[in-house]
């Protein structure tokens, strides 16, 4: 009995060695760089990307790799710091990768992109949302599987002009980077679409009472209110507006597209519009990716996991479709081929922004956010 087990083990080991030996003899692996914050304060933003890349690569290698070659990851840390990002980029380039997944933070990504551009390496970030990265046209090698910061404001502005057909609006914000940034962009896009912005003001977050500014909204005779900020102020605003008998369209951002808003504002939340990332929770691929993560790493995946998963899939798919690791062919494949990912059926536009995934408009109906198609 014992001897038989022994024989089996030896046989298995030998055959494994032979098999892997065969593969490495026939084709060198395709190397993909993964760079981002994997240590430091922002490691929680970067580590899910490594896990996602590992899972996709494991799946693909189990199926025999792409174009007969196995895929291998080269992982480099930048701690989200631009000065470390250039080091990481240099290391990744010298490891002879064919493309890069990363970086995580916009600042670090921008710092590293020049190096990748010079080395003709396709770079796909799961999380860098800074608009100019794609819009400046400076980095034709850059792609991302997340919508840029201004997409949300653009969507909100289009929605209020085209769908709700508002003519005159008030735009309020909480004076913070996120809220004010959103509000300013909505104002700009709405005015470009011919909507009059009668009121543009910041309010103090956390104040117990907003009745003065609500009176001001009433006095401005607008058809809708746009709020850039988070849900605690939003729920006070909708409550005080409805208490005064003002039934205006209320359009807000991702900071309000949170179930806490509905819990706190209760009946006052009904009818409120908010933009937020398109819902992927019912996508079977997303469910599978999350299950795989739990099995492999024993925990729930973190931030940008699905974006990174989709980025890796899109990249490997492009290499497979291009049947080559040539830069121009990968770029062409990324822009023309669609691929099914946890984020949906995606591709990239000429600038490198994701197509097929982004922000949607949601409305509170019967105490739930419902995606408006």
């Amino acid at each position: 009995m014992k001897r038989r087990t022994m024989v089996l083990v030896v046989f298995a080991t030998v055959s494994l060695l032979v098999l892997s030996g065969v593969q490495s003899v026939f084709a060198a692996p395709i190397k993909i760089g993964v760079a981002g914050a994997f240590t430091g304060d922002l490691a929680s933003y970067g580590l899910p990307t490594v896990n996602a890349a590992k899972l996709v690569v494991k799946d693909i290698n189990a199926k025999g790799g792409i174009n007969g070659q196995l895929v291998e990851l080269v992982i480099e840390d930048d701690q989200c710091k631009p000065e470390l990002a250039t080091n990481a980029a240099a290391k990744v380039v010298s490891a002879k990768v064919v493309a890069v997944i990363g970086h995580i933070c916009s600042g670090a990504t921008k710092a590293a992109l020049g190096i990748y551009k010079d080395s003709k390496l396709v770079t796909i970030s799961p999380s860098a949302t800074n608009p100019p990265l794609t819009q400046s046209g400076e980095y034709p090698n850059f792609f991302r599987t997340i919508a840029p910061d201004d997409a949300q404001a653009k969507l909100a502005a289009t929605f209020l002009t085209k769908t709700l057909k508002l003519k005159k609006i008030a735009v309020l914000h909480d004076k913070g980077d996120y809220g004010k940034g959103f509000a300013e962009l909505v104002k700009q896009y709405a005015e470009e679409n011919g909507v009059q912005v009668a009121l543009f003001e910041g309010i103090n977050p956390g104040a117990p009472d907003y009745s003065a500014v609500v009176n001001k909204i009433g006095n401005a005779k607008v058809d809708g209110v746009v709020w850039g900020g988070y849900h605690p102020e939003a729920s006070k605003l909708v409550q005080q507006m409805k208490d005064k008998g003002m039934n205006l369209a209320f359009i807000s951002d991702d900071g309000v597209k949170d179930n806490t808003f509905i819990e706190v504002a209760g009946k006052y939340a009904e009818g409120v519009y908010a933009t937020g990332p398109t819902d992927t929770s019912s996508n079977p691929l997303a469910i599978k990716a999350i299950e795989d993560h739990k099995k492999e790493f024993g925990s729930e995946p973190g931030a940008f996991f699905l974006n990174a998963y989709a980025a890796t899939q899109a990249l490997l798919n492009a290499i497979a479709k291009a049947k080559s690791t040539d830069y121009n062919k990968i770029v062409a494949a990324l822009q023309s081929e669609y691929v099914d990912t946890p984020l949906g059926h995606i591709s990239f536009d000429k600038r490198g922004d994701i197509v097929g995934f982004g922000f949607s408009v949601f409305q509170v109906k019967n105490g739930k956010y419902v995606e408006l198609k």
């Binding site: 003001e201 117990p208 003065a212 006070k236 409550q239 209760g266």
Partner: protein, 300 residues
């Protein structure tokens, strides 16, 4: 004119919110010259207690009116006990020490209480049910003022009158005034100073709890951090009106509310805080002790 009236009433409502908190601040300061930074936290704890008790009573099928009465009464008692304990633990041992020590102790208590609620309850915003009645006759005027605002205004007025009467005409009021004037002398003539200060804290904290329930009902939400923000504004209002003076705190709160409201309405809400602090500076330049503050005579 209609717009002005709306803004004026909104400022009045806002002022009465500040006043509810400022009254407790000013009372404690008037007696022991301590800026009790933990006052805002007692207000928050009062609100939380009412929320928890209210939820408990509701789920046991108690009618709304009784829920209001019981949860308010119990949260007042709970907050008063908190105020009493805080004074015993954090301020009494520092009596007679430099005033700065007690002030720093107060800031410490404020942080401890915030984090206590954060850890023992939640970091999230919670919905606060409206326990207060809606007046139907007010419906046509709802663009101007709503029931909750009117109730807050009424309660503030009643509390102000009661406190003034308490201090002017009762035995404990007399003892409070004596303690405020000269603690050692009051002790010499037989006033139990420790008891007087405890009563002051109990009354101040009870007021904070009333404020907590009313203001949270108005806002419709509660969070461990609300006391800090409201406390700062109420403190400004108390200083504006003359810290230590009961009518001063109310007047200061109204002045602050009107300034913020009219400033927001006619100029911009971006500068709401700037209006508040500009008016504070202007008034302190003209009357350094606040609008109704008594000038402190130099003791020789």
């Amino acid at each position: 004119m209609e717009y002005f009236l709306k803004l004026f009433l909104s400022g009045t409502a806002k002022g009465s919110i500040y006043a509810l908190i400022a009254l407790g601040y000013t009372m404690v300061y008037g007696i022991i010259q301590l800026i009790n930074f933990a006052h805002g936290e007692i207000y928050m704890i009062g609100g939380f207690t009412a929320l928890i008790l209210g939820g408990f009573f509701f789920s046991n099928g108690m009618p709304v009116g009784l829920v209001l009465v019981f949860s308010v009464l119990l949260s007042i008692m709970y907050a008063a006990a908190f105020g009493f304990t805080v004074e015993k633990i954090a301020y009494r041992p520092l009596r007679g020490k430099p005033r700065l020590s007690a002030l720093i102790s107060a800031i410490g208590v404020s942080m401890v209480l915030q984090n206590f609620v954060l850890l023992s309850q939640t970091e999230k915003f919670l919905s606060f049910p409206s326990y207060l009645p809606e007046f139907n006759w007010l419906q046509p005027y709802k663009a101007y003022i709503n029931s909750t605002q009117l109730i807050i205004l009424g309660v503030t007025a009643v509390i102000m009158v009661l406190l003034t009467l308490l201090i002017k005409f009762t035995r404990i009021g007399k003892a409070m005034r004596a303690t405020a004037q000269d603690m050692h002398m009051a002790q010499l003539v037989g006033v139990d100073v420790n008891q007087v200060i405890s009563v002051t804290f109990i009354i101040g904290s009870a007021l904070a709890a009333i404020g907590g329930v009313l203001i949270c009902s108005y806002m419709g939400q509660i969070n461990y951090y609300i006391g800090f923000i409201a406390g700062i504004k109420a403190f400004v209002a108390a200083v504006l009106g003359g810290i230590g003076s009961i009518p001063g705190a109310v007047l200061g709160s109204f002045v602050l509310g009107w300034t913020e409201s009219l400033g927001t309405g006619y100029i911009s809400s971006d500068y709401e805080d700037a209006f508040a602090f500009v008016i504070l500076i202007v008034i302190l330049l003209i009357k350094p002790d606040g609008i109704l503050g008594r000038t402190q005579r130099q003791k020789v």
